[in-house]
């Protein structure tokens, strides 16, 4: 099996090598993903191609191992170094294991950035996060507030009471509540990322707060379960379920109307931005240092913090207008 994978990945690398020799004068940016064949990364590659088309003189090499291992990515990186690409933008399978290989790449003058899933600071020039905690916290309450022009009651359905990510996002949300007058967060309940418990908690919310207008679930299991509970209770249109979810998992809820909109990062934008940043750094149009602002084409610019990492944008909002396009992607 692993021999087969090795053959496959070396064929893939050989193919990209052959393709790349054809246009040697272009700048070559390698988009290295966790594994080939994942919808999310295919979409990111589409975004990177879009950036390449916009920039003109750029060729995108979309590559990665056939399974999500650090070893597979190291092989890919080594072959990219041998090809002498101009930049590597990687979503890492391991933050530390890839550092030596990526250091070697940087010593050869290759621009190295990480995106989506980061590499330790010594192994890359900068890291692009899809979003930031503050932006996510603001987005989840904004999603609910946008459909409640006259204000209303919202409740939060989180993962477990001790889930770090969700707690940070809810804290960030509470910080910006002043910007949304009339919106009252009545309670926070915990579904423990179990479909049945989340469903039951959502039912409990509907009973305890008969005037509830929205349920915010910043967790992909919770949002799906809450949408199903609202649909089963016949409260579609009365209670809007929103939060963070994946388009493929939420398509049913958008169709039924239980959820008007929800958010998650947009992989197309992420691939686009990664390619733009890699281009800017490789052409030395920008340098990666704390406080620097690096342009990302149509996505504006990213400002780096002390660890040379930055947040791309607000999470992307999905609703009935674009769910069809994205539900098959991820």
């Amino acid at each position: 099996m692993s021999v087969m994978k090795k053959i496959l990945s070396s064929v893939a690398v050989a193919a990209t090598m052959m393709a790349s020799t054809a246009q040697a004068e272009d700048m070559r940016i390698a988009l290295v993903v966790k594994a080939l064949g994942i919808g999310f990364f295919e979409a990111a590659a589409k975004g990177a191609e879009e950036a390449a088309a916009e920039l003109g003189d750029v060729e995108i090499i979309y590559t990665g191992p056939t399974d999500t291992t650090a070893e597979g990515q190291i092989e890919v990186i080594n072959s990219l170094i041998a090809q002498g690409v101009d930049a590597i933008a990687i979503s890492a399978n391991d933050p530390d294991a890839l550092v030596p290989a990526l250091k070697k790449a940087m010593q050869r003058g290759i621009t190295v950035i990480s995106w989506d899933s980061g590499v330790a600071p010594e192994g890359r020039q900068m890291h692009l996060n899809p979003s930031s905690n503050a932006l996510i916290g603001n987005m989840i309450i904004k999603l609910a507030a946008d459909h409640l022009p006259d204000g209303g009651q919202v409740a939060v359905l989180s993962a477990s009471a001790t889930a770090t990510n969700q707690n940070i996002w809810i804290d960030e949300m509470n910080k910006v509540m002043g910007d949304y007058p009339g919106i009252e967060v009545v309670t926070t309940v915990y579904g423990d990322d179990l479909a049945d418990k989340s469903y039951r908690e959502a039912q409990g919310l509907m009973q305890s707060y008969p005037d509830l207008d929205a349920i915010i679930a910043p967790t992909s299991v919770g949002i799906v379960a809450a949408a199903q509970a609202v649909a089963d209770a016949g409260k579609v249109g009365q209670i809007n379920v929103t939060g963070l979810g994946l388009p493929s998992e939420m398509a049913g809820a958008i169709d039924s109307g239980a959820s008007k909109s929800f958010a998650i990062w947009n992989p197309i934008d992420l691939g686009y931005s990664a390619a733009m940043i890699a281009h800017a750094l490789a052409t030395e149009a920008a340098t990666a240092e704390p406080g620097a602002a690096i342009p990302m084409g149509r996505m504006g610019s990213v400002t780096l913090d002390d660890t040379n990492s930055g947040a791309m944008a607000d999470p992307f909002v999905y609703d009935s207008s674009n769910i069809e396009q994205f539900k098959s992607i991820f």
Binding site: K197, R200, G204, L205, Q207, G252
Partner: protein, 326 residues
């Protein structure tokens, strides 16, 4: 014996009524008939699984693979539905029961023919079944928009004011009540757990009875697998993770002796309802999530303590009666 069982059930019923009363003081809407029907519906999967688990425990075994069996069967049903949306729900229900029974039979064979302790067998198959879900699904979810409407509608379809999910639970209670009290096989389960040596002398094959107990438990888990996946309209590797412990807890609360031989369908149902009421009440009575786990745990221990005490005093009374009679 019969008196002892019925009184256990009486105590448990009283405990559930008292609990409902306490909940009503904090949230009156909870005891509205409509809501109680919802609670029953929500508890139906637990009731069905608890009946199967009861039979297994009666024979001195335990089935820890029920939740994994449920998840695997559920995933297979969902994938069949995605691949062939035209397959009627009746066929899917049949496949679910058959596949569940097969997975249960696998446990049963290992216990029967290889004489491996049931807790070891089912711990192993629990992981194996979860692993198989990962293999067949590639770790991906089957989502509600991929499932056909008929597939999702079945457990929700209402008849005489109750959804099919509730009716199926009631049907299983009736079937297994008859099976356990009116058939040779049902009595064999009690005999095997109550006194295996005596059972052998009366011509009962202990291993075979245990095998059938696992088959029943598996078939019920399979049925629940389809119901679960269509009710929550999602199938993935981790559905019902840890649910086997709820099922065992429901049995223990229901007065089914872990040492085998003692228990009834009524006890399993009441045990499941007891847990179901707690699970559904906690979200509405506004207690901190950090307290919720402690409260469910204490409720279980109190229920069991009351149960065993009740059992003990009953034993003495029977002896006294025997003394007087002689």
């Amino acid at each position: 014996m019969k008196q002892l069982l019925s009184s256990r059930e009486l105590i448990l019923s009283a405990a559930i009524v008292v609990m409902l009363g306490l909940i009503a003081t904090r949230f009156p809407g909870f005891v509205a008939p409509g809501n109680l029907a919802d609670v029953f519906n929500d508890t139906s999967p637990l009731i069905i699984l608890a009946i199967g688990q009861m039979i297994v425990i009666l024979t001195k075994c335990i089935d820890l693979s029920v939740a994994a069996n449920l998840a695997l069967t559920g995933m297979v049903c969902a994938m069949i539905n995605v691949a062939a949306p035209g397959v009627p729900v009746a066929v899917i229900v049949f496949v679910a029961i058959a596949l569940g029974a097969l997975l249960g039979a696998f446990n049963g064979i290992l216990v029967w023919k290889l004489d491996i302790p049931p807790i070891v067998v089912t711990l192993g198959t629990m992981t194996i079944y979860r692993g198989i879900i990962f293999l067949i699904s590639d770790g991906k979810w089957v989502n509600s928009h991929e499932m056909s409407d008929a597939f999702k509608a079945f457990p929700r379809a209402e008849a005489l004011g109750l959804p099919m999910l509730s009716w199926l639970a009631i049907l299983m209670v009736v079937i297994f009540f008859v099976l356990m009290t009116r058939t040779t096989l049902g009595r064999a389960f009690y005999a095997v757990g109550g006194n295996p040596h005596a059972a052998v002398y009366t011509g009962i094959n202990v291993g075979k009875s245990q095998f059938w107990a696992f088959v029943f438990s598996g078939a019920l888990a399979g049925l629940t697998g389809y119901l679960w996946v269509s009710r929550y309209a999602v199938a993935y590797v981790d559905i019902a993770l840890g649910f086997e412990l709820d099922v065992v807890a429901a049995c223990v609360i229901g007065g089914i002796a872990i040492s085998g031989g003692i228990g009834s369908v009524g006890g399993a149902v009441l045990g499941a309802l007891f847990l179901g009421v707690i699970k559904n009440a906690l979200p509405v009575i506004n207690v901190s999530p950090f307290w919720q786990m402690a409260i469910s745990g204490s409720a279980i221990i109190i229920a069991i303590a009351v149960n065993t005490r009740a059992g003990r005093t009953k034993g003495r009374i029977i002896l006294k009666k025997a003394e007087h009679a002689s």
